[in-house]
């Protein structure tokens, strides 16, 4: 057996821990958000926490039908959310969040003044500011 064959045999036993390329894109997205959040905290910027009572809004807008499928996009990237009654979206200043809950579409732009649009009408949302 040649040196090359021996080397190839030995090093072909090494395998990555990633089973799928889609694991990578998911992990890296979370890591990037983590980096951005640490940087934001380091400069003492505001972290805006937005809380929705999703099921309550869905119930009111859909005449009693319960909507279970919720989709959330942060800066154009779709997030995985559970379908509990409430969920929290964390974002930094400048982030744009879109939330679709059945027929209800909510957009939030996290700037100095937070503006919320829901189905074309402004609506009140509970916002907590943390510094």
């Amino acid at each position: 057996m040649s040196n090359r064959e021996k080397y190839t045999d030995a090093f072909s036993k090494l395998h990555s821990g990633y089973a799928s390329v889609w694991e990578i894109s998911g992990i890296t997205h979370n890591r990037k958000r983590g980096l951005r959040m640490r940087k934001t905290m380091a400069v003492l910027a505001c972290l805006i926490v937005l809380t929705f009572a999703v099921s309550g809004i869905a119930y009111a807008a859909t005449d009693g039908q319960i909507i279970n499928a919720v989709k959330v996009w942060i800066n154009g990237e779709e997030q995985v959310v559970n379908t509990d009654e409430q969920f929290v979206v964390e974002m930094d200043k400048g982030d744009k969040v879109v939330i679709e809950d059945g027929d209800i579409r909510t957009e939030v732009q996290a700037e100095t003044d937070v503006k919320v649009k829901q189905n074309g009408d402004e609506t009140e949302v509970e916002i907590e500011h943390e510094e």
């Binding site: 021996k6 080397y7 030995a10 090093f11 072909s12 395998h15 990555s16 990633y18 990578i24 890296t28």
Partner: protein, 162 residues
């Protein structure tokens, strides 16, 4: 040829372990080696490069992997270390010669390990290795010779003279 979400899995399956081996060869740590895998294939997924052939894609992946090894080194993250002996317990070598060769290569200085790996595992010529690593062909030839000499001392008859 473009690499996009429709065909990325094919290239990932084909070259994932090659990239991992480059990363492990550099860091001697499977965690950082997987960081190299992550960064390399993210770059592949996001590149707009028009590839002209399969070989072009492969060469691009290998070069990016080598560069990512240097970039991951600069990261401020504190990485969990897995010793070589711990990691070897997860590997299934078919005979002691394979494990001896693996240990002998891991005992080489990093710059020799890289050259040896690109030569024997990836099958690159000295000129190509020089381009990938940004060094002269003379430097690569010297490093290859010295690496072989060290392997010969450690492995004796198990490593043939070349």
């Amino acid at each position: 040829m473009n690499v996009d979400r429709n065909n990325i899995e094919e290239y990932f399956d084909r070259y994932r372990d090659h990239v991992f081996a480059i990363g492990y060869n550099y860091f001697k740590n499977p965690i950082e080696a997987d960081d190299v895998v992550q960064e390399t294939f993210l770059k592949l997924l996001n590149t707009n490069m028009e590839f002209v052939s399969e070989e072009h894609i492969r060469n691009w992946i290998i070069r990016v992997a080598v560069n990512e090894c240097k970039r991951v080194t600069l990261s401020s993250y504190v990485k969990k270390k897995v010793s070589i002996s711990e990691y070897m317990e997860t590997l299934t070598f078919e005979n002691p010669e394979e494990s001896d060769l693996f240990l002998a290569v891991m005992a080489l200085p990093k710059k020799y390990r890289q050259v040896i790996h690109l030569f024997y595992y990836e099958g690159y010529a000295v000129k190509e290795i020089a381009e990938i690593l940004g060094q002269s062909e003379t430097a690569i030839t010297t490093q290859l010779a010295r690496a072989r000499a060290k392997l010969k001392i450690r492995l004796q008859e198990a490593w043939k003279n070349e």
